[in-house]
Amino acid sequence: MERVPILKIGDILLVSIQLDMSDQTAVQLQEDLAERIVDTGCHGVIIDITALDIVDSFVGRMLSTIASISKVLDAETVVVGMRPAVAITLVELGLSLNGIRTALNVERGMELIAAAHADELDYQLDDDPDAETASS
């Protein structure tokens, strides 16, 4: 079975799916990613599907599951690079990709994650009385 490589770039894990995945490979990716999120403490996951010819219900479900797992592990997932034909087909198939953030490309995906993480830090600072006094 082939495995999809996971790259760490700064605070982000980047997964670029370059092969026509078997279902088993897709499930393996889910597990590998969960482990890497915990090992690295990364706050963002970008899944680049530019090279995917199709996204069927199995891969769609895998993307949703990855997004949910990373959420629980304090990481934001953004799926980037979906081809127009794939988007059209997904909608007709009836797949809604619940809970998945998307961006057109890796760069915008990174901006989304940075913004989401900054919001979260602000929120934590607002919540923290020590931080208040330190800043005043």
Binding site: D20, M21, S22, D23, Q24, D53, I54, V55, D56, S57, F58, G60, R61, R83, P84, A85, V86, I88, T89, E92, L93, G94, L95
Partner: protein
């Protein structure tokens, strides 16, 4: 394997593992390209084939897929037959409903793939298993 496809001959692929589902996708893609389906139509028929081949494997206990080209004089198309000798589908109407699944899936395989093709026929019985024929025509 995509090279040198003889379009006059049906292309057969057995479905015994999830690697075979990948092969079915590649075979259908090659034939869809050969009959000059548009990119969106290629994507739709390959996606439908992926769903149905997975059903053949998961629910039918494996089976076979046959891909042929069709020509009605005006248009060309790709026709795919998915056959298994599994238990059949007990309640076809229910199985064709969006969101219904007897397994662990999303319940979009049958209903969703029907929307992605132009013709969709299904024969099923406990004795003979399930046979699904789909056709996608060029526009």
């Amino acid at each position: 394997m995509t090279a040198g496809i003889d379009l006059g001959q049906p292309q057969a692929q057995s479905v015994r593992s999830d690697e075979d589902v990948v092969r079915v996708r590649q075979l259908v893609r090659a034939v869809a390209v050969a009959v000059k389906l548009s990119l969106v139509d290629q994507t739709k028929v390959v996606t439908a084939a992926s769903e149905l081949a997975r059903n053949t494997l998961v629910y039918g206990g494996g089976g076979s897929v046959e891909v042929t080209t069709v020509d009605n004089g005006r248009r060309k198309g790709v026709r795919i037959v998915f056959a298994d000798s599994g238990p059949g589908i007990a309640d076809l109407n229910l199985a064709m409903t969006d969101g219904y699944t007897s397994g662990g899936g999303l319940g979009l395989g049958l209903s969703g793939s029907r929307r992605l093709v132009d013709e969709f026929e299904i024969e099923t019985s406990p004795e003979t298993g399930t046979r699904i024929t789909v056709t996608k025509w060029s526009r």
